[in-house]
Amino acid sequence: MHNIRLKELQAQYALLTDEHQRLDTYIDIAMEIRNNDVDEAIKMANDIIDRADAIDYPLAKGRGLNLKGWCYWRQGNYDEGLTFLQQAHDIAGETDNLPLKARVLNNFGYIYRDRGDLATAMTFFENALALNEKIKDEVAQAVNLSSIAYVHYDLNDYENALEFALRCLPTFSKAKDNHRLTSLRHILGNIYFKLEQYQEALQCFEQNLAHADQGTVLHALSLSGIGKVYYKDGQSDEAEQVLLEAMEESEKLADVEVQITTNYYLGRLRMDEGSFRRSKNCLETAFELSVQYHRLHDEMSLHEMLSMLYDKMGDVPRAFGHLKDYERLKEEIFQQRTLNKLRNLQTRQQVELAKKEKEVAERTAALKQQFMANMSHEIRTPMNAIVGLTRLLMEKEPQPHQIRYLDAIKQSADNLLVIINDILDLSKIEAGKIIIEQTNFSLRRLMEAVRDMLFHKADEKGLQLRLSIDRGIPDKLVGDPTRISQILINLVGNAIKFTENGFVEFRVLLQSQNQNNCTLLFEIEDSGIGIDADYIDKIFESFTQAGTDTARKFGGTGLGLTISRQLTDLMHGKIEIKSTVGEGTTFTVSIPLGIADSIPEKEEETALSKKDIDALRATRVLLVEDNEFNRMVAVDTLEELLPGIKIDIAVNGAEAVEKVKLHLYDLLLMDIQMPVMNGVEATLIIRQELKPPRNAVKIIAMTANVLQENVQQYLDAGMNGYLSKPFKTEELLQKMSAVLNLADVAQKAENRPEVKPIQETFKPLPERVTDKTFLKQFTGGKEDKIEKYVGMFLENAPRLLNHLDEGLKANDLGEIKIVAHSLKPQLTYMGVKEAVSNIFLIEQTAGGAGDIDKLPELIEHLHLVCKKAFAELSISNHTDKR
């Protein structure tokens, strides 16, 4: 049985050479041996402690001391046991080893439990359990649970004891930990015994007996258990036989627990038989042992028995003495039990409280996230209009002083955008939303891009901006170039900002390198104002600059450094700073990076070729945007950049879907947050519900939402790309050309018949435009009524058509919309379908949702339809009259 594991360990031990590993295995062996031979285990424990000292291996020493403490507990030497355990505990604390600490705590619990201090024992077990939960050691948790079950058992709280014991049963079975399984079965047997479920109890003890070798503690324990059950069951002879066997074994093994149990039950047995003297011998032996070993519980039971015995023997004073002691102990234990229950309740409450707090915290975090996303959207939407319209005004040949104002607006808007982006970045980092990419990139290209970007700024202040890259650094690297350049731009930009004259230099050095990885050192040095030593520690905190007056003088949010530091942390790098006031500052950023085999070819990001622009000019675009100003910006920008481009407008997702159903577009520029139907929903409908080729239209999201998770959501919905508002013109063109297959578009534009749109939009009229099915159904076939309605229509509709013409002439869109709205139901009643009349389209177009230039054609077409309808209806009316 369990010797298999022992043999395995011994075989393993023989093979090992490293003393550390040998010692570990030796401890495992001792742990096996302790179950059968406590004395041998103590010898081994001493051995372990010496050997651990020799090679300075504190953890092994701790384990050795723990083992020794355990052995002393088994032998009943509680004080010495406690001393060793305390030493082991100290070592566990020093080495910060949680598993050892948990084990030591559990062993402490055993000793206190045996001494009857159940509350303390419980505390130790629970602390051990908490530790084991932290390190997720299931078996160790089960050990603690079974210990807790023991305590409940001692507190006479058998229901709880059973619950805890049964909870750890499957874990031990799974772990095939035979020793633990048997001790658990033993306690289960005891619990069942107390619950008077003797059958189950017997089963547990017998199973254990079958697993135990003769002459072991377990064997004796099982026998004593079986004896107990027999006794309770009234099988006195069998009980006596088994108990005697157990007693003999336990005396040999010097096992206190079994000796007390067997003596106790033998004493009771003999008391029942009437042989008081023999009974007294047994009970007194057990009593002395329990007093000697401070086993409070056993002491209590023995007081009870002894008082009964002396009562029967007629020795009333003695009986009374024992009875009093019994009551006292019972009271003590009962008190502990009540306390324990109270404490249980408290713990439960604490757990609930913690759960609630966690929920609240999570909700708050989610709210904050939502708030940041909303805020970014709310600010960016008007910013888009400001930036875009300023740009458009700049191109309208403004007067010199107007240029100055426009420049100021542009500068302010740009500054504001930087601040918003900073705040967003920081909240993204704090929310853990930033994911560091691992892509191949060229270091030199990155550094040059940073220099080019900041060169102008340095030049304006008359500063020298120097860049140097260590020759030994591999150029092809793996990492997140966007974030690295963000850090560099922050730091170099900062250096330029705080330097009045002199230079700003940034260098890249190689700190270390092996085959696949290297660590780079980015140094940014300036000859600026420097940072006071008092502030150096604080500058990485949010919203802190070197003194509030600095912020006033130099502007900015002071978030740049915080973000740089957080990003560096995310890349497992380090950022350091050295500074002398008045002389300058040096930031040092070290970042570990991978070395790449190849890097992607540099993308052509410079201006698009003329051919591409021409191709783009032939595209047909549907702009979906609810904000009027942003619509203006987008339309004017596109028309300016790509004269001749065809732009349709939809003010929400639902309209966009309708338009896509009607027309073939090359591209949709789709805002996300819109009333009625948002951009994501519209995209889903277009992609999933429309038929090819309409579902394949390219869609670019235009959004003020810039959180990464949102972008992913757009792409998941089937969008082809996204553009963050406010957008730059080049960015718009590049995204458009990237998404569109330009050759395809050009081809399509050529094939698209350049005929009058009236033929493109309108199908030839059907043979009959009217249909009286509805009218017949409505009137129940009454001809006079049909006639009346048709007559009214014939009278009314021409009047409305006139209104329509007048509205068109006066360019009064509101009027057109209202008239079309009135005419619409009437046409429907006469059976003129929307596909034929386009009356709904007229209403919508007049409402500003479509191409207003098309209105005259649409209305002209409506006249045609109505003329035909009037003819059909008046003929039928005449016929009917006859």
Binding site: V676, F774, F778, T779, K785, K788, Y789, M792, F793, N796, R799, L800, H803, I818, V819, H821, S822, K824, P825, Q826, T828, Y829, F840, E843
Partner: protein
Amino acid sequence: MAENKRLIFLVDDEPIQNEMLKDYLSERFLYDIRAFDNGEDALQNMHLKPEIMILDYHLEGSKKGAKNGVEILKEVKEKYPDTQVIMLSGQDKIDVAVDSIKFGAYDYVVKGETAFSRMENTMNNVSELHKMKTINTAMRKTIIFLSISMGIIVLISLYLFLFYRKPF
């Protein structure tokens, strides 16, 4: 006379719509129906206390400067809150519906071929509501009446008991 005859106002600037709806409703309900081609006229006649008003959303089609349906709705609901208003509109637009309900309309029906049957359903609901309200009022009155009579009885008996007791 017309006091106990139940009354409906139809308000639509399109005569054909009014006519069709009037015919449709008069075949199915025992209401007196009066049609108006603008909201102002309807408002002038509100003293007739119509139970239901069916009101077009756009009323400015034929007559320039006419008040539109929402304005009429607001006025009706302000001065004659007992009249239930059902809005009619030519288009299925959520903001129209929201506006209508916000200002107290009972329901909102989109014009078209299905409008008539939907109107019938809505009317049924309204008159159900009206019936319930009437019953409720009647019951409330009954309860008040009963409690008052009970009170009087108790008072009288107390009075008799206190003052007409024969002294022993």
